[in-house]
């Protein structure tokens, strides 16, 4: 197994009285793609959102346990959430570009970090768009509104926006679930390229997608982590019956 990037220890999360995640322990390897699978409402997205503390926004969420990124507990009292989120980027299920130009969408992150120099911004925008494999499609219309792009392009733009602040970890919450097959395959290709530099954790409902893009797979069911291992093993030879049932489509 590769080096460990994120180590989750006894993570439990309640929404009010409701238990959403129960005692999750998991080690996510560096610069690999880890897929989170499982039926709807079983805690995958909630778990993903604990990794950049987006659950902080929900007043009723209570968390215990530890999430260590590079050996540092992100739930420690003196952790700066703003800095954490710069290191752990997130791509959402529904593409959510700002109603600004393509350029300004990507420049948003650097700008809030105080980078205002034209040349530097230009460069960041270009590299980010190139890494997100959308540069060739938009380079002639960087000043146009991002809302004029197609759904698939918008999602890649959102990935470029995430890359603009140079994170080490990218969380993806069903990034292709609202896209057509062609756009989906572009996103999957992109994930494949990105894992050379980034640790990627992706939630997906699509079994084939998980099998195609990920190196490791974690199966969640009813707020518990049922099984975790190499994707190949999970899909061909799962050790737990529930996993096998889910993957073969017998429930869920």
């Amino acid at each position: 197994m590769k080096e460990i990037k994120i180590k989750i220890k006894d993570l439990t999360l309640h929404y009010g009285q409701k238990l959403a995640l129960n005692n999750i322990c998991l080690e996510i390897p560096d610069r690999r793609v880890t897929a989170l699978i499982g039926p709807s409402g079983c805690g995958k997205s909630t778990f993903l959102r604990t990794l950049n503390r987006m659950n902080d926004l929900i007043p009723s969420a209570r968390i215990s346990g530890e999430v260590l990124i590079d050996e540092l507990n992100i739930y420690d009292r003196n952790i700066d959430v703003v800095n954490l989120r710069k290191r752990v980027g997130m791509v959402f299920q529904k593409s959510n570009p700002f109603s600004k130009s393509i350029y300004e969408n990507v420049a948003y992150g650097p700008r809030i970090n105080g980078i205002n120099e034209r040349k530097v911004l230009d460069e960041i925008v270009e590299t980010s768009l190139k890494r997100a494999a959308i540069w060739n499609e938009v380079k002639d219309r960087l000043r146009d509104s991002a809302l004029g792009l197609s759904g698939g392009q918008q999602q890649r733009l959102c990935i470029a926006r995430t890359l603009s602040v140079n994170p080490d970890v990218i969380l993806m919450d069903e990034p292709a679930s609202a896209l057509d097959p062609l756009s989906t395959s572009k996103i999957e290709e992109l994930i494949h390229q990105l894992k050379e530099q980034y640790t990627i954790v992706i939630v997906t409902h699509n079994m084939q997608q998980a099998a195609r893009v990920s190196d490791y797979t974690a199966f969640f069911y009813l707020g518990e982590l049922i099984e975790f291992g190499k994707t190949k093993t999970i899909f061909t030879n799962p050790t737990i019956k529930q996993t096998e049932d889910y993957i073969t489509g017998r429930f869920g």
Binding site: L84, K94, N96, Y108, I112, N113
Partner: protein
Amino acid sequence: MMKTFTKIKGALIIGITGLSVMVILGIIAIILVVVIIGGKSQFSWEFLTSFPQDGMTKGGIFPAIYGTVLLVLIMSVAAVPFGTITALYLTEYAKENSWIAKTIRFAIRTLAVVPSIIFGLFGLGFFIKFVGAGMDNAFLGGRLVWGQPNILWASLTMSLLTLPVVIVSVEESMKTVPRELREASLALGATKWQTIRKVVLPGSVSGILTGSILAVGRGAGEVAPLLFTGAAYYLATLPSTLHDQFMVLGYHIYIMSTQSANVDQTLPIQFATTLVLLLLTFILNLIGVVLRSQIRRKQK
């Protein structure tokens, strides 16, 4: 049997609702027709741009228009930023069910139903007698400058009256900024304030605009609060400082129809003034409604 009953009931409901609509439309039509017929002989460019003459039995209403515009401008300058900040607190910072948010919402609702004459009395007591007179005593050695009715105190009183309208409409438009956009910003490592400044506020500009216009529309038509706080019967000059009194359309109509030397003779002037006031508030409301519907369309 049952079927015919249902049919009759349906027809009855259509009839009643239709009639109510007709009554309302009818009232509006009558008002418009009466005002237009009565005022059209007076209504002219001259009427809009000149001063009243001969004890207000002739001439125009320019000072009243000027005063009304000035009043709503100063009122907006006070009410819009204050209302926006309050709305910002309620949508972004206050916890939905905390006692402080509840208290503020209760206060806003109460403010919205207070009769406007009470605002006038409050303005007189608080702004003129307390703040104004206090300023005169503290800084001007008791010389009477701020401690009397003027356009500043009238505008501030009016801004309190319109504050609920501003707060509610700004709050509504802030709530319509999608959660996904806030999350996108926060996930990039933006602070809460950066997110508000760069995502929430730009996204609700049109709502802030709508709120201000509706507030202005409301303020332009009010008279009662101004009776105590600064509206004048007649002034030969336009207000030039914040501590001058001013003329205003609504009050002008009131005095022309109750205290004029010759009410019958000035009837056309009264109608024409009413027409101007109606047009002014109608146009402002129309702009507000159009803006609002455009925001709604954009959100779909």
